[in-house]
Symmetry: C2
Subunit: 277 residues, 2 copies
């Protein structure tokens, strides 16, 4: 766990949402990727639920068991010194008992923050009711308080991601949800799949707390997001998919042409061992 | 497990050592990498112990627990249809009971072959005695026979890798060990860190069974290895280290310059989910 207590790490992660710079999180899925992010100088590490799930053989979207996800979080937390925030989807259950167990498991695994989304996984009814999600956020906050750790709750709404309702209604719907989540105790508010600078700028002003934007190739540049007042940017599974695309390219080339030409020498064996030790 | 039984998969893997083409194995460490290798058309998949260990937060060299290694093997085996061979280092123990347990665990995990090396991990005494290693190989063979699965044993000697003895003695030492392992029942003989074509050509002729060479950037080209009569080529953790170097480059660039320019769009989210489902 390094020298800092989890209480201190949680406070440190919370502080990173208050500037002066935008918090940038390059999402990881295993110990190697986490150590690389820490080594590069990032002040915190975040997991991507999709990247972890894919690596372990699951499609994204809570097909993985909670304990399997937390086992990866635990491995990563044991090997880094900076605060860790984990993407725990919608908490792996609907009852408050289960949500409290997820919060407890998160802290026991050594992480101090989580992404907590309002997707149900049911296309016919894609989002949990606001009141229900609010109770879950309050439950996560209380769970942390009992453990004397301020769990940094990054409350996410998937109104845009799931394309809920008429396009013209999504902005207001997102604001309503995020402000309700903020009122319930969320530390940061996450609206993935909002990409254009105009909407992002409006969202920064409309929500009553720090805003997290998902940066993907079509999103406004990071410097512009920072200028607009975005507090936190994360990258989802894009970095993992990019890395594995390099592997895929090598594998196809090896199969089709029988050469190692597209295998770059890469990080030496001894350096990789030392990185994760 | 797909449609084939493990008995059939083991026979298929064994057949791949008998030509007509050299068996090329692009080593993997998780479900995504394994599925990419299968998708590219490779007839078999092999794990890299170093890559698996690093990904989970261990240096290579049996610092990982056997059950953790087998858990990764099990995840991969459940998601591919082609035969899987696992790098199980020196078997995670020295007693024949433990070695038999490792062989049983391998088959129960759904794999049908293994790399089995003679490194002790002790720099003062780097290799197990030949007689001891021979008994372990016989034990692995017997364990498979009881399960009616011909475990494809790739017996590895680390004479070159550990730079054992005077350089001039290593060739004969390697041949002595590999032929003893072959006599004990090994299906393939592996001498990592032999890179030049002249030595490889001599080794092909001197050993009494199929030869596995580790291909790394300094090794003779694959086409030349095939021409020399090498039966099997594997890549160790080079592909994983190359893929993670792409991630590392992106992460450093993001940290130092604040841009996503070195993040390639990569495999789409939905395609990645479908790949591992």
């Amino acid at each position: 766990m390094g020298k800092q207590t989890l209480t201190e790490k949680a406070q440190r992660l919370l502080d990173l949402h208050r500037g002066p710079r935008m918090l940038v999180l390059a999402n990881v899925w295993d110990v190697v990727s986490a150590r690389m992010v820490e080594r590069a100088g990032f002040p915190a590490v975040a997991t991507s639920s999709a990247a972890v799930a894919n690596s372990l053989g699951y499609a994204d979207g809570q097909h993985i068991q909670r304990e399997e996800m937390l086992a990866v979080v635990r491995r990563i937390a044991a090997k880094i010194s900076v605060p860790l925030t984990a993407d725990l989807e919608s908490g792996y259950g609907t009852s408050l008992d289960t949500i409290a167990g997820t919060g407890l498991g998160l802290v026991e695994a050594g992480a101090v923050g989580l992404n907590f989304e309002d997707s149900t996984g049911d296309p016919a009814n894609p989002l949990f009711e606001i009141a229900e999600q609010v109770e879950k956020i309050k439950c996560l906050r209380e769970t942390g308080e009992k453990l004397r750790v301020h769990i940094v709750i990054n409350a996410r709404t998937d109104v845009y991601l799931e394309a809920v309702g008429e396009p013209a209604s999504r902005f207001e719907h997102t604001v309503t949800r995020l402000n309700a989540y903020r009122e319930a105790g969320a530390d940061c508010l996450f609206a993935p799949c909002v990409d254009d600078a105009v909407t992002i700028g409006k969202l920064v002003k409309a929500v009553h707390g720090p805003l997290n934007i998902l940066a993907r190739p079509q999103t406004a540049p990071l410097a512009e997001l920072e200028r607009l007042g975005v507090a936190r940017v994360s990258l989802g599974s894009w970095p993992m998919r990019a890395a594995m695309t390099a592997f895929d390219r090598f594998v196809r080339d090896l199969r089709e042409r029988g050469t190692l030409e597209s295998l770059e020498p890469g990080i030496p064996y001894a350096e990789m061992n030392k990185l994760v030790e």
